[in-house]
Symmetry: C2
Subunit: 418 residues, 2 copies
């Protein structure tokens, strides 16, 4: 028998469990106030759907499930694909699209979905990254307007605010502005992806670093110059959205920049958490399925993004044949939990915790009294532990204190009063 | 792209989602009051652990996960086993035992664990049975005494009571009484399992049916007579526990019947739900790993058991080498949800629900007002939906009512007051 979890997965200990429960509860409560409704999809998904080129790099990380019974023909194995018919989902967005195409006739329009669930990716094991992790997503399906983005961003930042996060930054961009940038610089279609990946590093490696990488990656000198002119100069310093609009001109589709402006203005006006909303023309986001706005929440003090999302107006159409506007925002649940654990976050508890120590061999009548006392306290909402007293009661109480029991009661054999 | 979920699994719609959230929240809250702590284990488990003969019939129903990378050698396939190194867990008890053996040095003694999670069994698809389903388990590890059983049964019945269930029956037995019965009747070790399976049907097929099955299954006539004497006569009518104790005498280990009596008495004394606690000498429970007390909650009006559990004092020792007393109680989460859905259960909501209808093309200033109003209501705990008004507003409001929005506000373009 093996004692450790399978490679790259983890056991959640009680001190983490209580924080996970709290964040889960707060997410459910907050998102419900924004009209999102809880749904669930299976962890197991059709292999055809998982490998339909919607998942980018994640499709290389799928845990595949062996066919069963007669379907598994070991005498006639062509390749890996002939062995499997399903796999574990790598995110909640692809299953949501399948779900919507399967159930839309029973769902309101627009449909605001809240999902929490395990997803699985066979990544190289490393600190803080796990092969099974929880995602916490909200999505709005059926609304093509800025209202959807505003609601998603407001709901997500409100949740972060309720978890006492502050001073963070919401960055927003639009895939169509990235495309406009490529067109403006004369970058061919098949090199756009590479361009975006390099631009994404601007914050880390600076303008000179980006120029160097673009040159060594074989972009035309003229293209590199046009791009670097934008990011080295002062054009984006003051007001980057208007700056980029002026430079890229008609390469940007009509209304695209105005849409971003509306979102940013409204979010700033109604926000109820302490954060800054900024346009970031080099924000890229990895997933292949994004078609419009993309956004991310960055907490500089924790070194990385804690939430990300965007519009994926074409994915549901791949299931149904009818395009359905869709936009989602996913909180990095595991990242949030790690930060809270590292910061020594204490879950606010409303109820007192009492440990009732029972001497071994307590007569039936006294036992009944102890249990009745526990029942009354529990009925009132207290957390009560009924536990046999150890010989070393002092040590036992110390241990119980560590688990949050600050109030003690004792039931002895001889003592008829307590 | 496939629209339906994989065979035997299901999409959870919002009307079910809200009930699942409610039961989950209530379970967490109730079990926390009893001192249980939330933990999690991965959905994926080592194939060696899953196939270690602890899971009985469930081991035939494992979803197996294909090895990855170099570990998968398609040129050298011996059998199915050579293709897999992990699988999806079929219950939460086996992973808990692994978890405890991996983490016990960081856990309190005794350890009271609460787990909710998905488990997977490739059963033949049938109505109401799914291949992925949620289990909701509480377990007490490290307490060999009746206190553990009393706490488990009291906590579970309290949760059911809080969900408005009443008039149910908690049946209890001990595996050692079943063994005593087999010894008393002179049934050989290797036929005990079959004997128990047949006895388990007593309620359904009656004493005559049991006799018939025992005879046709090749049990010795003398054994059958001795068994049927017990279950056909009046010995168990009045007080079955004392009755069986008298008949089986020294075949029952010392203290075993008294232990059951203590549990039953204490549970009845401190219960805070409407149920009956009964000794049932033919209660068997399927899982191979039970070693002592076993119990089940039956709701006659719903035709089946809604919770089950028992003592499995030997499983953790298989991981650690040191026996650790363990006992658990699992609520049939999906069964409970199905009953609540069928009964038209309404989740008690504390907050009002308001839908704010926005006329398309609303000017920025009015949009801001609408969003501020929503923010204020949400801050107070209301559920607020901001939604574009349709042309047919009457129909739209009807639809919104169905989703629980009873209060409406409207923001028009021309109208500067609302």
């Amino acid at each position: 028998m093996k004692k450790k979890p399978v490679t790259g997965m983890k056991d959640v200990l009680p001190e983490e469990g209580i924080i996970r429960d709290y964040v889960t509860k707060l997410a459910g409560e907050t998102y419900s106030r924004y009209g999102f409704m809880t749904i669930e999809t299976p962890c197991v998904e059709h292999i055809e759907n998982l490998t339909s080129k919607q998942g980018g790099e994640n499709e290389k990380l799928i845990f595949k499930i062996l066919k069963r019974g007669d379907k598994l023909d070991l005498g006639n194995i062509q390749d890996e694909d002939s062995l499997v018919d399903s796999g574990l989902r790598y995110d909640l967005t692809l299953p949501l699209s399948r779900y919507y195409s399967n159930n839309s006739q029973n769902l309101p329009v627009p449909f605001k979905a809240f999902q929490m669930g395990s997803v699985f990716r066979a990544e190289r094991p490393q600190k803080g990254r796990f092969r099974q992790f929880t995602q916490c997503d909200i999505d709005i399906l059926g609304d093509p307007t800025y209202l959807a983005e505003v609601e998603l961003i407001t709901a997500t930042t409100t949740l972060l605010g309720r978890l006492d996060f502050s001073g963070f930054k919401v960055r927003i961009n639009d895939r169509r502005i990235l495309s406009a940038l490529a067109a403006y610089a004369g970058v061919e279609e098949d090199k756009k992806g590479l361009l975006f990946i390099i631009l994404d590093k601007l914050d880390k490696i600076g303008a000179d670093g980006v120029r160097e990488e673009l040159e060594s990656s074989g972009f035309a000198g003229d293209s590199v110059d046009r791009i670097m002119e934008i990011f080295s100069g002062d054009a984006l310093k003051e007001d980057p959205l208007h700056g980029i609009k002026e430079i890229l001109g008609e390469h940007i589709p009509e209304g695209c920049a105005e849409n971003l402006e509306t979102i940013m203005t409204l979010v700033s006006q109604v926000r109820n958490a302490d954060f800054e909303m900024v346009f970031d023309p080099v924000l890229v986001r990895g997933m292949g399925y994004y078609t419009g706005t993309i956004f991310e929440i960055e907490m500089p003090q924790f070194g990385s993004s804690v939430a990300g999302g965007g519009r994926y107006d074409e994915m549901i159409g791949r299931f149904t044949g009818t395009p359905t506007p869709a936009v989602g925002f996913s909180i990095g649940f595991e990242r949030i939990i790690t930060i809270l654990l590292e910061e020594g976050f204490k879950v606010p508890t409303e109820a007192p915790s009492t440990a009732i120590l029972l001497e071994k061999g307590l007569p039936a009548e006294r036992m009944k009294e102890a249990m009745k006392e526990a029942a009354v306290l529990r009925e009132k909402g207290s957390r009560v532990l009924l536990v046999w007293a150890n010989k070393n009661k002092k040590f036992q109480k110390e241990q119980l204190s560590k688990n949050g029991f600050e109030d003690f009661k004792e039931y002895y054999r001889e003592d008829l009063k307590h």
